[in-house]
Amino acid sequence: MVQQLKSVYGSGICEATTFAGQNYLVVDRAACHDVLRTLDEQMSYHCLTDLTAVHYPKDALPFEVVWILYSMSANERVRVKARFADGEEVPTATDRWAAANWMEREVYDMFGVRFAGHPDLRRILLPEDWTGHPLRKDYDLQHQDTDWVRKNLGIESGQ
């Protein structure tokens, strides 16, 4: 599988490794959308199990977006990972999987990563006018949008 992908995308596939018996592919951000398409259309990875992100604030490309795919016929999972800069848009997977809609909204809500081509990219768990993205590492655990709390809940201290 890796060979086949590498022959098509060349250096677009940066790394293909196994950790604790689980396979993952690190792909170039420019190739990620095409790799997902190939995995879905040609390699039977038809299910998008999960889509999430991890924040590495010290790296040049701080946001790692992770797609976890599953192939029911082969009973195999594969993770596809790509790094993105802050403020950069990630190509949406909603054109391929309806499930990606809420998953991408959650990633946007929690990390502030925007998805290009998403039909309705709004916050999902937090209120629409909340400021900050909680799962970023620079968002303090006790941080609260005190203005929002004051305005909407009428709590004077904002806590």
Binding site: A20, V54, W102, I124, L125, P134, K137
Partner: protein, 383 residues
């Protein structure tokens, strides 16, 4: 336009056309609504009684559990996951422990694996009982709720005796179990299984032939296999569409490969079939519990794990078959004593996304039935 002309013109209208034009009614349902199983808010767009579209508004129970994980140690975070799906706390706990164990490369002793299977299957029974009771209550049948909650009490009593807590048990630890089976554990559980089987028949007698129930559930909330794939639907909802897929069989964990059990599937992919699948799953759970109790070997209940858990740098995704569907944990470790990132793949959240697809074109009353049949828990949807 005469009345006759008006009615004739209706025949030319395309399906899905609204006669109300701009008078589409937007109705708010929830978050304080008894049939939304917690604090789900649904904004319905109605044409009379017909649902043209709906939107879920989530987050009323958001506690930032994934953020909390990053400031606790691996061990300290374990009790938090019980608060995700609080009707099946043991399942959450099992998933998290398996994920951390996978990262550490720890082999859990056989006795602990069997104990885990017994408790998680009991928990599946309890979870399905809550689902059955509340689902029927939503549709208008009050009595079954008392039956299912009466029987669930026996399961909770076992949990209480085992670990002291009834709901959010924190029964498992990374590496195995914290407590061994108490005196008379096996006997009590086998007794419970013997008692429960006729009670499941009793549920069936109460419900299955009921004409109101049949009319409220047959052909309601249909979703095709292709849509199930696209929406990443798992669990009983997927199986009711005819796909025979269960994580316990596909990728067995915690010694599930040792047990004989069937995966019930449906054909019609409607609310009624999901009911049949879940009730049959309860029977299969009893089958698994009996085998696990009989095979419960003597031995240690927890593997040797260091006091301060520091998994190697890396990441794993581990999933289990929770009562609601595939519950996954994607955990990232930077080699320190605290998780770098814990992502929960919540089956309720992902299945709930199909609510709009399943309810479009149906009646308002069916939305209530469909929310019930999806079996969501808002603690898990909002995290």
């Amino acid at each position: 336009m005469s009345d006759k002309q008006f009615y004739e013109s209706l025949d030319e209208v395309e399906p899905g056309h609204t006669f109300l034009g701009s008078n589409e009614l937007v109705l708010n349902m929830g978050p304080q609504h008894p049939s939304t199983h917690g604090v789900l808010r649904v904004i319905l767009k109605l044409d009379g009684e017909k649902v043209n579209g709906l939107e879920c508004v989530l987050g009323y129970l958001h506690r930032g559990i994934e953020k909390v994980a990053e400031s606790r140690t691996w061990t300290q975070f374990a009790p938090f996951v019980d608060r995700l799906d609080y009707t099946a706390a043991v399942s959450n706990s099992l998933g998290y422990c398996l994920a951390v164990e996978k990262m550490l490369g720890v082999e859990v002793p056989k006795r602990a694996q069997y104990l885990r299977v017994i408790l998680t299957e009991l928990c599946r029974l309890a979870s399905h009982q809550i689902w059955l009771g509340t689902h029927l209550l939503d549709i208008g049948a009050v009595t079954p709720l008392f039956y299912t909650f009466r029987d669930r009490e026996y399961i909770l009593n076992i949990f209480e005796k085992y670990c002291g807590a009834r709901l959010t048990n924190h029964a498992f630890r990374i590496g195995g179990c914290r407590w061994d089976a108490y005196e008379g554990f096996s006997k009590e559980i086998l007794h419970l299984c013997d008692d429960l089987l006729p009670k499941i028949d009793e549920y069936r007698e109460l419900i299955t032939g009921n004409r109101i129930w049949l009319q409220r559930t047959k052909n309601v909330g249909y979703i095709s296999v292709e849509d199930c794939r696209s929406y990443s639907i798992t669990g009983p909802v997927l199986r009711a569409s005819g796909v025979c897929w269960d994580v316990r069989k596909a990728q067995p964990y915690s010694s599930y490969e040792d047990f004989e059990f069937d995966i019930p599937t449906g054909t019609a992919s409607d609310t009624f079939d999901r009911y049949v699948v879940r009730v049959e799953e309860m029977r299969q759970s009893i089958r698994i519990i009996r085998q696990a109790v009989e095979g419960l070997a003597e031995g240690p209940i927890i593997a040797k794990v260091p006091k301060v858990i520091k998994p190697p740098v890396g990441e794993v995704y581990v999933s289990i078959e929770a009562p609601k569907g595939e519950l996954g944990y994607f955990i990232v470790s930077d080699g320190s004593a605290q998780p770098y990132r814990v992502r929960v793949r919540p089956p309720s959240f992902i299945n709930l996304q199909a609510l709009e697809k399943m309810s479009k074109g149906s009646l308002v009353a069916d939305v209530v039935a469909i929310i019930g049949t999806l079996d969501i828990v808002l603690g898990e949807v909002d995290r």
